[in-house]
Assembly symmetry: C2
Homo-oligomer: 414 residues x 2
Amino acid sequence: MLRLQLSPCGFDTIPTVSIEFKIEARDGSARCGRLSTPHGEVETPVFMPVGTQASVKAVPQDILEELGVQILLGNTYHLYLRPGVQQVRRLGGLHGFMSWNGAILTDSGGFQVFSLNELRKVSEEGVTFRSHLDGSSHFFSPENATEAQIGLGADIIMAFDECTEYPAEPQRVRESMELTLRWAARSKKYFEEHKHAVPWGKVSSFQFLVSSAQNTGNRKPETGNYQALFGIVQGGTDPRLRRESAERTIEIGFSGYAIGGLSVGEPRSLTREIVESTIEHLPTDRPRYLMGVGTPEEIVEYANLGVDMMDCVLPTRAARHGLLFTSEGKISIKQARYADDAGPLDTNCACSVCSRYSRAYLRHLYAANEVLAQVLNTIHNLSFYLDTMRRVRHSIELGRKTRSLSEVWSLRER
Amino acid sequence: MLRLQLSPCGFDTIPTVSIEFKIEARDGSARCGRLSTPHGEVETPVFMPVGTQASVKAVPQDILEELGVQILLGNTYHLYLRPGVQQVRRLGGLHGFMSWNGAILTDSGGFQVFSLNELRKVSEEGVTFRSHLDGSSHFFSPENATEAQIGLGADIIMAFDECTEYPAEPQRVRESMELTLRWAARSKKYFEEHKHAVPWGKVSSFQFLVSSAQNTGNRKPETGNYQALFGIVQGGTDPRLRRESAERTIEIGFSGYAIGGLSVGEPRSLTREIVESTIEHLPTDRPRYLMGVGTPEEIVEYANLGVDMMDCVLPTRAARHGLLFTSEGKISIKQARYADDAGPLDTNCACSVCSRYSRAYLRHLYAANEVLAQVLNTIHNLSFYLDTMRRVRHSIELGRKTRSLSEVWSLRER
């Protein structure tokens, strides 16, 4: 077991372990691990549901717990704009604010500035952008994006990066990668100097009572625990630049390493190629996080390449459009063929939706524009993603080398 | 204990009890009762959440069970238009279709035709109206509205009536009341001749397995049990017409009696006056159902007048607009004053929302237009209504004569 990020700053004398990562099984490139965070353990490889605005859309937190969610993702960009970092901080950080006692990861806001702002202006200092809510002007730098993430208080936070667009000229990709490396160093410096400002422990007594009463098993962070900062590898679709970005990011030194700048329009075969070639250059003893992927097939594939953490809006967003993932393929529940179908969505799925409701009912809810359609569809899709990853972990433990979604779902239970 | 609606039709030789109603405590005009239906018992006075399109908007059925919902309401008008009666029937009736094993009541569609159709045409035979979905033309008569309700298979169904508008000329009110009486007799005749066609027992094996596994405590209806048909008293705001309507409806003979045609624009003092004077003329040993009310204050008041059943879209609809009912009054959660409020919505409420989330978080969810706002707000409002009625029942049992919402919420627990 590795102890990461041992107190380098001397703000106090208490041990300042932020996360621990222990690999428990290997199967080819794939590995099963256990990531210990200030808010509980996370079994890896893990799929992290996205809770953009401090809510995994349409799903109450107790249902996320029932689904076995151990870590979820919040978006700094959105939370910075609404309700604002200071307000979240005053209410105990994201954990207290949304009453979630499991682990949380926040992105740095870099990707949203890239994807939601066509009018952004990038300089050495940072990025000027306009709010998608009211058009107001804002500025993110490595320093204030890190400050925002310390205020939000997630267990794992990300260095501020520039997400390079696809396609891009080689010179542009290099310059962007170099900028991300300089920003990574600035993010780390700011983090080390300010990480003691994490809001844990400032949770109001109401929140604390609630947490204690309702979430037995989840622990309140021990004093002295800080957040963990991950670096992000960029470099577009050039394997040499990816290697260089990986090596120089590792030189700066982070608790974990993310692969960013993929799933931005490039063909999926190229995504896979870049993931595979980048992973070779990442330390085996640190968590590897592939940002913003993917379909159920892809998350199985990437886990097999040795990715430990993934996130994507696909299961939650698709659910709201009536697209449901099952062990036998994707279903568009709005189709008339399901109107009389008394069977469950997925006979192989044990989730609360498949155990109780018929396809006919789910089709009706969607057609009738009922809010419950969003709730139930999202619960099922998340359950399918989480169950898929559970099966991937099981397969790795057994050394079965299951390499595809259908193989994973044919795997016999223990 | 009364046994109502003993087999008058001779379709078979099995006893055909539909509902039983037993009064267990009295306190002035108020009474506590137990209504036994083919799908479980209902403690009265009861507030019935509205599940217009086979869904109590935004709330999964298992949460309704956790809230202690024993009976909910479906709207024949909406379900007839979408997904259609035959489809619901094929899927085991409303219980099978929506996977709800508690009791269900459907209205006759009369009120929706009245409230959603300005272009309706009423004749002796029935009402021609246009679908609010696609403008298509439809016709409801006492016979086919009853047929639809038998197909939907609720435990309690309603005679087809005309809801008289307010204000209306005396002559118009009398004619409308007379029409409702003729329709009541036709509804009953059709029901007695066709009640064996209820879809119970035709539930698909999947639905049956699901029901058995998930809803222990709820029972599958015994063979031979039929639905119960309730009559509706009309007569506008004239106490003499209300009395006549009550007496002549009782003459026709129903398992229970509803007071319809109120909450249609008249002042609330008049509503109360009419309810009070009408109740005098209803049999004490049958359930009394006041349709379409009310605020938390009103449901306490009406229960105290001796009303046994009520329904209203208010708690669910208000929730979706951020209006939340608490033991200390109504809250508009969108207000900026709640942005920093770390306390629970209602310190006296033990619901899953008040136990876990802060006002600040609920305010954020609403402001950020998150679907979870609708889910959590609805859960709280329903919990508040159900808890209010639980406290009213408790007060009646204790003979405390608590006559207002605030008194009910100050009542010490047993």
